[in-house]
């Protein structure tokens, strides 16, 4: 890279660092991540703390809740390198995420790629300012791994669809304001070509959601029922019958994110936890346990390297379309092993119903299922990357 460009990035970093020092309040730093530490925005915002509110408002004012989105849509307009620097600087001071949002992680990228100008202008700035909390409606009771067999129907009523059916594993469905959902609108078309990607307001009598309690005790997911829900025709993203393409595009984001953050994150603390919980002498007495800790550390390092490589490949334009599946598969399976190792290290005390170790351990297996199960990722790799023939 040219010296001038490097210098520019360096001065950007200094500016960012200075601004963060001044504007990130103490109560928005060094927060131990847990159930109630995130701010999700929405029509009825629930701030975890006063400092978090200040922090969110300052970041939103700069467009830094979505640093890489264009400014006209409420973003910060940063390029890839600048966005990366901001991310590094936020990590450096261990700042809490100002706004957690499926709108940012999922819907935003879909609208930026497939949305009309009207849709972008209507929805993106609201996502950036945290005004609307979004849910994702993909799976159904009868459509899990075989997602494209979904049966929730949208009936064409001229200027709107009437939507009927049921979704499940709707992330935060019972707390969301709107939901982006896959709905079968073209009953005559084939399985994959009959689906549309709809934006549905949940604040109407025809939409009801009910939380599902998971083995970890959390209630992140819900069942969502559609009973003559009304959805304007203008709320189709991309074209009618093209919803599967939008969903596939979005799933690659979800998978990369899951693999990278779940697999690579927290790995560094495992060796420290092993030393704190069992100690060097204890590990020496149990070589098998010590070895498992070391191997888990190695594997976490590998996922971190894979994430670094994915970033570099993205920048160079050489990213393989299968990388998200590879990262998701290995990252989520690693997290399942790692959280179980921590349980072993801790012994009886970690079995306490309120320990974070137990919570993390019970949170890990669902991630091997959500976003396309491990087996779905293996099918994708077999059929698309290796081009192995279909079973006939």
């Amino acid at each position: 890279m040219a010296a001038a460009a490097l210098q520019e990035l360096d001065s950007f970093r200094q500016d960012v660092r200075g601004w963060l020092e001044e504007n990130c309040p103490p109560g928005a730093r060094n927060i131990v991540r847990g159930l109630d530490t995130a701010f999700w925005g929405g029509r009825n915002p629930d701030y975890p703390s006063d400092d978090h509110k200040i922090w969110f408002e300052r970041m939103a004012a700069r467009g830094w809740t979505v640093p890489a989105w264009p400014k006209e849509y409420g973003g910060g307009g940063l390029d890839r390198m600048q966005a990366r620097i901001l991310k590094q600087e936020l990590a450096r001071i261990n700042a809490v995420e100002p706004l957690s949002s499926l709108g940012i992680m999922m819907l935003g990228p879909a609208l930026l790629k497939f949305g009309t100008e009207e849709q972008k202008l209507e929805h993106l700035p609201r996502i950036a300012r945290g005004e609307i909390r979004w849910a994702q409606g993909y799976s159904e009771p009868g459509a899990g791994s075989d997602l494209a067999s979904l049966q929730t129907k949208g009936e064409d009523k001229g200027d709107h669809f009437l939507v009927n059916g049921q979704k499940i594993w709707t992330t935060y469905g019972h707390k969301a304001d709107m939901i982006f959902a896959l709905v079968r609108t073209e009953p005559e078309a084939s399985k994959h070509q009959g689906i549309s990607f709809l934006l549905i307001d949940m604040d109407q009598p025809g939409v009801n959601a009910r939380p599902i309690k998971m083995i970890s005790g959390n209630e992140h997911f819900s069942e969502t029922f559609f009973d003559d829900a009304v959805v304007p025709m203008a709320n189709v993203v991309s074209e009618r019958g093209k919803g599967w393409d939008v969903a596939k595009y979005l799933l690659t984001f979800e998978r990369s994110m899951m693999g990278e953050s779940i697999g690579g994150g927290q790995g560094e603390s495992l060796a420290d936890q092993a030393l704190a919980l069992v100690g060097k002498d204890g590990l020496a007495r149990e070589p098998g346990l010590r070895r498992e800790v070391a191997e888990t550390m190695n594997e976490s390092w590998m996922i971190q390297i894979a994430a670094e490589r994915m970033f570099d490949q993205g920048k160079a334009g050489t990213l393989s379309p299968f990388t998200p599946s590879i990262l998701k598969l290995q990252g989520t399976e690693l997290a399942t092993r790692r959280t179980r190792v921590i349980m072993s290290l801790g012994g009886f005390d970690e079995l306490g119903a309120d320990t974070s170790s137990a919570y993390e351990w019970l949170q890990a297996p669902p991630n091997c299922i959500a976003g396309g199960s491990s087996e779905v990722q293996l099918n994708i790799i077999s059929k698309r990357a290796l081009e192995l023939p279909e079973h006939k």
Partner: protein, 369 residues
Amino acid sequence: MALVLTEDETMLVDSVRGLLDREAPLSAFRALRDSGEALAYDASLLARLADNGLVAPQVAEADGGVGLGAAAAGLIMEQAGHVLAAAPLLSAAISATLIGGAASQGQRAELLGPIVRGERVVAPALDEVSRHDPDRLQTTAIKDGDGWSISGAKTAVIDGFEADAYVVSADCEGSPGLFLVEGGAQGLSVERVQTVDSRNYARLEFASTAAIRLGEGDAAKAIEAGLDMGRALLAAEMLGIADEAFDRTVAYLKERKQFDRIIGSFQALQHRAARLYARLDLARGVVLKALRALDEGHQDATWLASLSKGVMTRLCRDVLIEAMQMHGGIGVTDEYDVGLFVKRGQAAGELLGDDHFQTERLASGHWGL
């Protein structure tokens, strides 16, 4: 540097692959193995590779090399792994690193050029016991007039039979030193070791053998650098071996029919293949990361070299077990090429420390466990 290949590196890979396909296809390795020739490498291939600047390419230009770095050396080794190229590339790169790390400027100028030009094969002699243990150093060096005299024994000497010279580690009044011993030196006996993988190994014995000391003082750092380079390059070679065996296996899954079906349509086989594909993709990043770290003098370079070696040892083993199993009976015949990769993969895995060794090294050294 980024974990993607530069344009120059991509061109290097293409040209090395082209050269090896023309001059050193796998059939050439097999023919040499079957010829009964005692020298298990092809001297003319070494010369051709040297002509193209592919031998110890990491040697700096100031030292008579081409200065392409460890990454280039690794990419070349990876391609060599695809065809099991019968050339002493590994020994050249390790010896050059040992010499580069320990020797005086004058010695470097004298010794490195001939290695890079393929004029002299210089083999590294570090190991003393069958299972890799670099801390075990019982070979001794004592001052003898203007020079030095070495006594002891070395094993697993890569490319060691009929080498022109050896870089030997020896204990020198309590700290390790590196010494150059000429192939024809008095008091040196060289035993050719025929291994399953048909690489050119030897065991050495020194009885008051005349030697030249490389540089002065403690050579521990140079030895570690040589081991780092060797481990990262063996990882790259195993990546080439595993990729080749995997691609051949997937191709076989697409053509072999049983039960009136292409066996690659069975999900049981598909998912096993897909898991290997995913692991290979992750390992590719780790191998490149280790090579880049060596070039950058990264503080974690030595740990990344161990990580890449350990990961590739296990993965290469797993790929080759599956390659044999998925090929069925033909895969375990001598006539079929899969067995050649199985044997080299195993040997490359054990050289300079297998997966167990590297995990232990990382556990105690890097993770503080």
